[in-house]
Each structure stands twice: as structure tokens, then as C-alpha cells.
Symmetry: C2
Subunit: 113 residues, 2 copies
């Protein structure tokens, strides 16, 4: 692929992906949900170390708008809200895998540990 | 990989990767350089549609600090500066590939075209 580096059509789809996944939180939230089991706000917040409630709330809305997660409200008292990753969200598996492998090598190479 | 979704150690390396690649420009700049040939500031700016000079300048510094590109100054008059992708930068090939494929499917699925 990189042999065709810089191809404007390829750049367009990379740009689409980066816009949907922008920032350092969205992929981490998706990864936290990637077991498949629904999670509540507090559980996601605990899994994604360092995220504020305000940011998490904003990112969840953006992920829902991009059909990457589903939000469900249960008619209990008090009402319970759960978030689940969608099949489209799960289709990021290979992106997350490659980021994981690259992150490992980057830590060795640049961060020196 | 996603079967082990949420594993804290895996999340750490994804986080490392996302921190080095944060924002929507860095990967696009690397993609523009990924043919391998050195490029001047103006050439990169033209290839990465919509980036401002100020942002490009900041992003190039960050990419250099993370050893993803190399900056070379030639002793000409006026001095010429060129940027080249490093082997570490080229090791993002698979990440870019997967983002490209996912971006294509995201465009069909969510953006509906």
C-alpha cells in the first residue's frame, strides 16, 4: 500500500477514518467495550483511565452518531443506561490490533522501555 | 485480539500509539511522505489538503521528536529544508492500510456514499 504512498483517493478514506476516530479517547473507549458485554458509564470510565466524565459523555455521543456503539435505556427505577459496541465498531478490530503492535514497538524504540 | 477486549496491558500500547499519532493530521502527513522521496514544506502542505502552515509546522516538529520523520537542512542559498519518512515512520504501513480499508467501509455504511 505504502508503495502507492500519497495517492489522493487513499488519503480520502484515511481522512474519513481519522475524522470518525479523532482524539485519543474514542479507540480506547471502543477497546474497553470490545469484549462485547454491555457496560455502564461508570464501568467505561473506570476502564479508560484518566478520562473525565464530561469528555466521556461527549465521546459516547459522537461514537453513537457514527454507529460505533449503541446506547440503551432500561425502564427501571432509577433508569439504567448501557452501552454496547456495534458490529461496525467491532470492525475496527484490525485497526486496534495494528495500533497495539505498533505501540509496543514505539515504546521500545522511542520511549526506551 | 478483540476477544481479549479491554485488557489493560493492550490498552497501554494502544494509548502509546494514539499519543504519538494524536490528531487528524500526523498520519496524513506520514502518508504524504510514504512514497519515500524527501519533500519540502510546500509540497507536504499541498498534499495534505486543508492544513494550515502553523499546524503543519507544529506537527512536523512532533513527528521529528517521535523519530517518525527526519528533517534535513541543505547549505544552499537560500537554505533548503527537506523532510523524509524514517523506517520507524514506514513501520506504520499496516496501521495506515487498516485505516484505509476501514475508512472505505465507514464511508459506505455511515456517510452513505
Amino acid at each position: 500500500m505504502l508503495a502507492k504512498g500519497g495517492c489522493p483517493k487513499t488519503m480520502l478514506s484515511i481522512r474519513d477514518a481519522l475524522e470518525a476516530l479523532e482524539g485519543k479517547w474514542k479507540l480506547l473507549i471502543l477497546f474497553a467495550l470490545s469484549e462485547g458485554a454491555p457496560k455502564r458509564f461508570g464501568e467505561i470510565s473506570k476502564a479508560v483511565n484518566g478520562i473525565t466524565d464530561k469528555t466521556l459523555s461527549k465521546e459516547l455521543k459522537s461514537l453513537e452518531a457514527n454507529k460505533l456503539i449503541k446506547r440503551e435505556v432500561y425502564d427501571t427505577f432509577p433508569p439504567m443506561v448501557e452501552y454496547t459496541i456495534t458490529p461496525h465498531g467491532l470492525s475496527l478490530e484490525k485497526v486496534l490490533d495494528e495500533l497495539h503492535f505498533w505501540g509496543l514497538s514505539h515504546r521500545k524504540k522511542v520511549m526506551g522501555r
